[in-house]
Point group: C2
Chain length 149, copies 2
């Protein structure tokens, strides 16, 4: 990987769409982030493909852009279930919004950053999402997702 080869612009919107947090009990976690930390609950959704239940908490500034995503495994044999079994609950991923997903992923490939899924898949809220390999991004599970317009 050669970071010096990375070219701007990268097709990115320049903001964080959401921060994903793996939780063991979604209802307790919602109480914490809503009741104590003052976020607004936007809704709860199941993502059958990932075998998870997700709560979206909206952040104050940004009209819908900017969420905390709480992820509860519905099955131990799921990405979130395995993550919690291995590392315990906690910060899981950070998602950056792309204005131009094709360009953004082309830049990743050019920079030698591996994609966990070569083609974007449909994630929560119907957005297209791709994950970058944490070994190529300093240990952070980075998600690239289509920006809301």
């Amino acid at each position: 990987m050669n970071f010096d080869d990375i070219k701007l612009p990268a097709g990115m919107a320049g903001n964080v769409d959401h921060v994903g947090i793996a939780v063991t009990n979604l209802d307790d976690a919602v109480k914490l982030y809503k009741g104590l930390l003052g976020l607004e609950l936007d809704g709860v959704e199941e993502v059958p493909r990932e075998k998870i239940r997700v709560a979206f908490l909206r952040l104050a500034k940004g009209s819908g852009i900017g969420h905390i995503e709480l992820l509860e495994a519905l099955d131990p044999d799921s990405n979130i279930g395995r993550f919690i079994a291995k590392k315990g609950p906690g910060l899981h991923h950070v998602a950056f919004a792309a204005d131009d997903m094709t360009q953004a992923l082309a830049n990743c490939r050019e920079a030698g950053i591996r994609l966990l899924n070569e083609e974007p898949v449909v994630g929560a809220h119907g957005k297209m999402v791709t994950f970058l390999h944490p070994k190529d991004t300093g240990g952070v599970l980075v998600e690239i997702c289509s920006a809301e317009h």
Copy 2:
């Protein structure tokens, strides 16, 4: 801890001030987040008390999340140095902004959430900051920091 006792309003601004990421090489990490992920570098600052060097990357307006904070240890015997030695580099903490820090911390105490520092200390950018005990917040190192006005 009894989440049902948590009362609103919590003195919180309702947004994320920053997401903190522990990195092994700050310059490489800046290239990644600036060059590939399209964020703007606001500056680099040393925080001698924490024995770290921090880069702030500003998120585009419209995001409810203000900054990405990249944290490089200047000494293995520092919080970030020990974190990386134990868990490797990666997502470290998430900071929620408080309009009323005193009220926010009183709510935490009332909810039975332990504070890592009972009194706020001066963090990067001169903000007052307090960390909550990750065992009381589902494994997430939550920072409460004074909101920008």
